[in-house]
């Protein structure tokens, strides 16, 4: 009999041989690090040899007490919460609406939109972070576009002033108009704008009016310097924008795939009964996706609390640590300056605990308000 050839012991051996590699790897990346973080967060370990090196011991919950009083910790936590909020109230609804527009064929070329909006997800967040840091910088795309608009407007005004004056005909009135057109800039450039500007203009050859106009645009045009990423009170906004920019497409794909599983006849029936698209969306599609939405929210929370690389590349937590996240704080505590491993491990543990708490809350909300899946 076959049964007797392969006994229970062969079965058990096979089971453990198959499961053990995965279990060991799992312990290596998750089990042991969690244990290490628990132990080291209450120790005075300073990075030496853990076994048989300099002695270290358990000293208690000092690091956690320190964190509770640490304003940088709360600031970082607040930024993490902002990211969670932008994800849940920005990425999810936008992703859902886009998915619905494509699903109901309200917009054509669904494949194209989907393909474009998902694109940021496959690009390295390091590239994305650096790219947006450049775009928001004083040398970047936004500054350039704004300055071109300013330059275009003042160039237009200067041309009009000279046309009205009939060419190179420098009267005090023309100078006054030029100063007026420049707004505050002339006052910042010259101590006595009317005389100095007139002297400056008169150094030009009267036949080279175009050259004069060009130089005046450069001289008098408003220079706009974006301070998004260098001003502490607004620096978090570009970061949140990029996070929204980056991951909305993921939820679009997730929701669209699940919408396509809905029985089309239900929606057709609702439409024939006179339901508007808005009603179909809120009464038919939204309820049947509630389970998926909760999952997406959990995914969002877990991802948001752990976000590191994008912000690390974009601002590195600056200026003055206002865009710092828990993960960046942890990184700096361990790898920047004098390492403080107990503190870093206390932060790591807080991130893990916080994700668990938020996920449990989301699960409870799901139970309370009934996800269908």
């Amino acid at each position: 009999m076959a049964r007797t050839i392969h006994g229970r012991s062969e079965e058990r051996l096979a089971y453990w041989t198959m499961v053990l590699p995965a279990v060991l790897l799992y312990l290596l990346v998750l089990g042991f690090p969690i244990i290490i973080s628990i132990i080291l967060s209450v120790s005075n370990y300073n990075g030496g040899k853990m076994f048989g090196g300099e002695p270290w011991k358990i000293v208690g919950f000092q690091q956690f007490q320190r964190l509770i009083r640490d304003s940088f910790f709360w600031a970082a936590l607040k930024n993490n919460i902002y990211i969670v909020l932008v994800s849940i109230f920005g990425q999810l609804p936008l992703g859902f609406i886009f998915a619905y527009l494509i699903y109901r064929r309200i917009v054509k070329f669904g494949d194209f939109w989907q393909g474009v909006l998902y694109m940021p997800n496959i690009i390295s967040v390091i590239v994305i972070g650096i790219m947006w840091a450049i775009i928001f910088s004083p040398n970047g795309l936004i500054a350039e576009i704004m300055n071109r608009l300013y330059a275009g407007s003042i160039s237009h005004q200067i041309t009009q002033i000279f046309n009205a004056a009939g060419g190179f005909n420098i009267t005090d009135d023309v100078v006054r108009q030029l100063i007026h057109a420049s707004g505050p800039v002339a006052g910042q450039t010259f101590t006595d704008p009317p005389t100095e500007l007139k002297q400056f203009i008169l150094t030009y050859d009267p036949t080279k009016l175009e050259l004069l106009k060009h130089d005046l645009v450069n001289l008098l045009g408003t220079k706009w310097t974006p301070t998004f990423l260098s001003k502490p009170d607004v620096a978090m906004l570009p970061v949140l924008f990029v996070i929204l920019w980056c991951w909305t497409g993921l939820y679009l794909i997730l929701f669209l795939a699940n919408m396509q599983k809905i029985d089309v006849q239900i929606i057709e029936a609702a439409r024939i009964d006179g339901a508007s698209e808005g009603q179909v969306m809120s009464r038919v599609v939204l309820p049947s996706l509630s389970g998926v939405i909760v999952n997406a929210a959990i995914l969002c929370i877990a991802g948001s609390l752990n976000s590191f690389a994008l912000v690390f590349a974009m601002t590195r937590g600056g200026p003055a640590r206002v865009t710092e996240l828990l993960s960046i704080y942890m990184y700096d505590a361990a790898f920047f300056g004098t390492p403080n491993y107990p503190l870093a491990n206390a932060i790591a543990l807080s991130i893990v605990l916080l994700s668990m708490v938020l996920i449990v809350i989301t699960k409870l909300v799901e139970k309370r308000y009934g996800g269908r899946e």
Binding site: H6, I36, S276
Partner: protein, 306 residues
């Protein structure tokens, strides 16, 4: 029914307006997605001097001069090779070990399964990135332990063992481990769908579990293996947080680390910086263009509940 008929023109107007608004919102978002990327690519074909004067438009003089410089400075030939090794090695590892464990969880009865499988499913939500500091301490301490052990055994006279920290093998281990929870969940659920009668028939014919794995389960799991591969390839290729702390030698670094170097060193050499960014995103962009349908499908299938 007179009621709906009366509303018809108003409804149609609303429909047209709604359609217009939908296209507008969609168009704006899509434009905002693609414009920065196009700008980045265009800028990489301008010399640094031209970029200073012409930051927005098409290049007046198209030049590829930035690319050789950035390539050499970032040591990208080395880094891209490493990225291939890490991505392919870890993807194959994740597929193999997850199907192996998934087979055991799904088809071999054991009292350990609920605890083990349950803890893997729990792990889907815990990101290993938040544990990078304890992970770093773990790998460096493991190497020190091994060094001591080898010295005691007399295998090693002097020097250090780099088995976990600062080694390709260490990076691969961590990458495979971090991909396992999701992959094991997907594989187990998939293999549960394979009829048990097939396994039983093979058992009665005298096949060992390993033979069944090799000749029955593995071939039948190709679809889920593809999903797992698609789910992991972009993430592994772009991974930064872990490898940033796991290696220090340039010979072992991956592409994102090379691109990151350009933030600090070269802020004034725009041309090279843009070229480096394009080099950083080009491989995955091509992969996406080639396999968009599969990637989209895999992502939708792989976003699992915890």
């Amino acid at each position: 029914m007179p009621e709906p008929l009366k509303n018809q023109p108003a409804k149609r107007l609303m429909g047209v307006l709604g359609k217009g608004a939908s296209y507008a919102v969609m168009g704006i978002f899509a434009f905002m997605t693609i414009a920065p990327l196009v700008w980045l690519i265009l800028s990489s074909f301008k010399s640094t001097t031209e970029f200073r004067l012409n930051r927005v438009g098409l290049p007046h003089i198209w030049t590829t001069i930035n690319y050789p410089g950035a390539w050499k400075l970032g040591e990208f030939s080395q880094l891209i090779g490493n990225s291939f090794i890490y991505t392919l090695g870890a993807t194959l590892g994740i597929i193999f070990f997850s199907i192996l464990a998934g087979f055991a969880f799904a088809k071999i009865k054991s009292r350990a399964t609920p605890i083990l499988y349950g803890s893997f499913v729990l792990g889907i939500l815990l990101s290993i990135q938040s544990l990078m500091v304890p992970l770093f301490i773990e790998v460096s301490q493991l190497d020190r332990l091994l060094t001591d052990l080898f010295r005691v055994l007399g295998i090693l006279k002097n020097g250090q063992v780099n088995f976990f920290y600062d080694s390709r093998f260490g990076v691969l281990l961590i990458y495979v481990g971090s991909g396992l929870p999701t992959a094991i969940y997907l594989s187990t659920e998939y293999i549960k769908g394979i009829p048990y009668a097939l396994v039983e028939a093979a058992r009665i014919d005298g096949a060992t579990y390993f033979k069944i794995f090799r000749w029955l389960i593995l071939p039948m799991s190709v679809p889920i293996a593809t999903t797992v591969a698609i789910l992991n390839i972009t993430g592994l290729w772009n991974e930064f947080a872990l490898i940033n702390i796991l290696v220090s030698r340039t010979q072992l670094k991956s592409l994102p680390l090379g691109v990151f170097k350009f933030t600090s060193n070269l802020t004034s050499d725009w041309g090279k910086q843009f070229a480096a960014l394009v080099i950083g995103m080009a491989p995955m962009l091509l992969f996406y263009i080639g396999f968009r349908k599969q990637i989209t499908k895999g992502v939708a299938a792989g976003a699992v509940k915890g």
